[in-house]
């Protein structure tokens, strides 16, 4: 994977993966080669002559030469993405967002969960009446996305039990829905799971992503 759509591989802003050449980081290979060349220059017989003739200048050119391979990779990525960017530029913002989310899902091998969550957001917007009182039960990694994309169409309940509708993803680690009842999993083994309330399936995108409606007792 020397040349790839590199920056968009991870859905985080924290790191870009190293460029690997047969499992060895190219940065390491090139960096160590640079050090090696400089050490050779230093121990060479002509050291004095080289230093006299402006060592810093030679150093600068060396840096550039060694910089070049990784820059070529960076440039290639930009060219590759440029083509994609030009193709996408006419899309509306929602389509661009979905495109970016789904591509990252694909690169990261997330099995479609990231991409589908955006579909669930769109599905919920069509299925639920605006200004409904809702709560989102999903994995912590996806929760901010639901909140972000559903503002300002819905009101978010401060507590799950207060919401009229629940956007429920069965991957949610803290809740489970069984026989019309929603439970919060207990964090302490000896305690029973807490019953949140009775709900009915209001609508569903697929077996994993369901909208639940609270049933008044």
């Amino acid at each position: 994977m020397i040349l790839a759509d590199q920056p968009e591989i991870l859905s985080t802003i924290n790191i870009i993966r190293p460029i690997l050449f047969k499992n060895i980081s190219l940065t390491k290979i090139i960096g160590l080669s640079l050090i090696f060349v400089i050490v050779i220059l230093f121990i060479s017989k002509n050291k004095a002559k080289i230093i006299k003739n402006n060592f810093n200048q030679i150093l600068f050119y060396l840096f550039l030469a060694f910089w070049l391979p990784l820059f070529v990779n960076h440039f290639y990525n930009n060219m590759y993405d440029f083509k994609e960017n030009i193709e996408n530029i006419h899309l509306n913002q929602g389509e661009k967002t979905k495109d970016r989310i789904c591509k990252i899902d694909n690169y990261q091998n997330l099995g479609g969960s990231f991409c589908q969550s955006f579909s669930f957001v769109n599905f919920s917007r069509q299925a639920l009446p605006e200004n409904s009182n809702i709560s989102v039960l999903t994995t912590p990694g996806l929760q901010p996305y639901f909140h972000y994309y559903l503002i300002p169409y819905y009101k978010f309940a401060d507590k799950v039990g207060e919401a009229d509708y629940l956007l429920y993803n069965i991957s949610s680690p803290d809740y489970y829905f069984i026989e019309g009842r929603l439970y919060r999993k207990s964090k302490i083994k000896s305690e029973e799971d807490q019953l949140i309330g009775n709900y009915r399936v209001f609508n569903l995108l697929n077996k994993r992503q369901i909208i639940l409606q609270k049933i008044a007792i």
């Binding site: 802003i13 901010p144 972000y148």
Partner: protein, 443 residues
């Protein structure tokens, strides 16, 4: 077309708002326009966000676009009046590099990088988890509510989102841009960071050009512009690029104030260090590093009666973030996200080493930094300016190291969530330090 006009007006307003106060400083009246415009972009951004913070959080008022615009217009008029009354001439001249083939080629490559970035901005909306959870969510809530909820049971209490203790510069700047443009867009908001990227390149170029000349400065700017993670932050709405810009600005002005013995500039440098803390909590590390570097410098030149200057610098650091600290205290919020328990975590070194020397985030930049420092170590020790530059860089890095090594922050190094982002802020500073060390280099 209309949106392009709106963006231009918004940019003009932010830069003009930052540009006018700069005219009160003799230093900027002699500087080329590009440099002043880049500094003004940063200063204007802060002046807008701090006033929004005062209105929304301290006065607890509902935001009104036209009232706020009128306040800015009034302040700009007063500044103009003050400038003309004092007889200051607004100097605005463009200094272009002398055109030689090698310089033209480099400028074209840098412009190509910037063009690539521009198309990313237009085609890739904000979607990264960190951007949305930490900053953009707050901006969007505020965009639709026009006020902050101070009711504890509200889902969006104190702005909502996961980190209500975070500084407010980033969300407020996003909010202001979206309000001005009249639509909430995950694309146009990227432009804020695009312009911070460009500003950093310009500030560095005009600072380095005096040390190493035009061509070598362009070469270093080219290297910086092609560092993958640095480039990536140029179109992803997050705080670290803005932080990098303010820290660089603060340090450049601190350096200039010491070189020119200009106390007014020392105060402005302090203000920018304070702004950095209002952008991101990590700004505190740079504040401490600046204070220590300055003390070291005063000690080195055996300056008498340094207490007065140092006090001015210290006070100017504190003022820009004082309203935010007041807010934290009032609502019983901690500065840190995690409970600070002390320990010793040498396991961070592996990840730190990986991030600096193995991942391709920075190309081979950190190899270059280490080589340049080691080969010039004697000079660095002898020359005051170099010692000051490198000591600030090392003290800043050391600040992060202490944080990682002895506090619960170590976990963010192990899972790589904060490490590279923190290093990103050191990048422009390290480019400056390397450039200063190549002094008198003629290519």
């Amino acid at each position: 077309m209309i949106i392009a006009l709106k963006i231009f007006t918004l940019l003009f307003l932010q830069i003009a708002f930052g540009f006018l106060p700069l005219q009160l400083f003799g230093y900027f009246r002699d500087k080329p326009a590009w440099f002043n415009l880049a500094v003004a972009y940063g200063l204007g951004g802060y002046l807008i966000t701090i006033q929004l913070f005062l209105i929304l959080f301290i006065l607890k008022l509902k935001f009104n676009f036209f009232v706020f615009l009128s306040v800015i217009a009034l302040e700009m008029s007063l500044l103009l009046y003050f400038i003309s009354k004092r007889g200051y001439k607004i100097n605005f001249y463009f200094q272009w590099p002398k055109l030689e083939i090698k310089k033209i080629i480099l400028i074209l490559i840098i412009l190509l990088q910037i063009s690539f970035l521009f198309f990313y901005v237009l085609a890739r909306p904000t979607i990264t988890y960190d951007s949305i959870a930490a900053w953009s969510y707050k901006a969007k809530v505020l965009y639709h509510q026009n006020e902050i909820s101070f009711y504890k049971n509200n889902f969006n209490y104190l702005g909502g989102g996961g980190h209500i203790n975070y500084p407010w510069h980033v969300p407020l700047q996003q909010f202001w841009w979206q309000k001005f443009l009249g639509e909430y867009s995950d694309l146009y908001v990227n432009l804020i960071y695009f312009f911070y990227f460009v500003s950093i390149l310009i500030i560095l170029y005009y600072t380095l050009v005096k040390f190493i000349g035009g061509f070598s400065s362009l070469l270093l700017i080219f290297l910086l512009s092609s560092m993958p993670l640095f480039f990536y932050h140029g179109f992803n709405a997050y705080a670290d690029l803005s932080l990098s810009c303010y820290v660089l600005l603060a340090f450049v002005l601190l350096l200039a104030s010491l070189k020119n013995a200009d106390n007014k500039l020392l105060i402005l440098a302090g203000i920018f260090f304070g702004v950095a803390f209002f952008v991101k909590i990590e700004g505190i590390i740079y504040m401490i590093a600046a204070i220590l570097s300055l003390l070291l410098f005063y000690f080195q030149i055996k300056r008498q009666n340094f207490f007065k200057d140092f006090s001015k610098f210290f006070i100017s650091i504190i003022v820009p973030f004082l309203p935010w600290i007041f807010f934290l205290v009032k609502y019983d919020l901690n500065i840190s996200n995690v409970e600070s328990t002390f320990g010793f975590h040498p396991e961070i070194f592996k990840n730190l080493f990986f991030s600096l020397f193995i991942s391709s985030n920075w190309n081979i930049w950190w190899y270059i930094v280490v080589i340049v420092f080691l080969l010039n170590i004697k000079r660095v020790y002898k020359e005051k300016e170099l010692l000051f530059g490198w000591s600030f860089l090392f003290l800043s890095f050391g600040g992060f190291l202490v944080l990682y090594l002895f506090t619960t922050e170590y976990q963010f190094v192990l899972d790589h969530t904060a490490l590279s982002r923190n290093i990103l802020t050191l990048m422009p500073l390290s480019v400056l330090a390397v450039g200063m060390t190549f002094k008198k280099l003629k290519l």
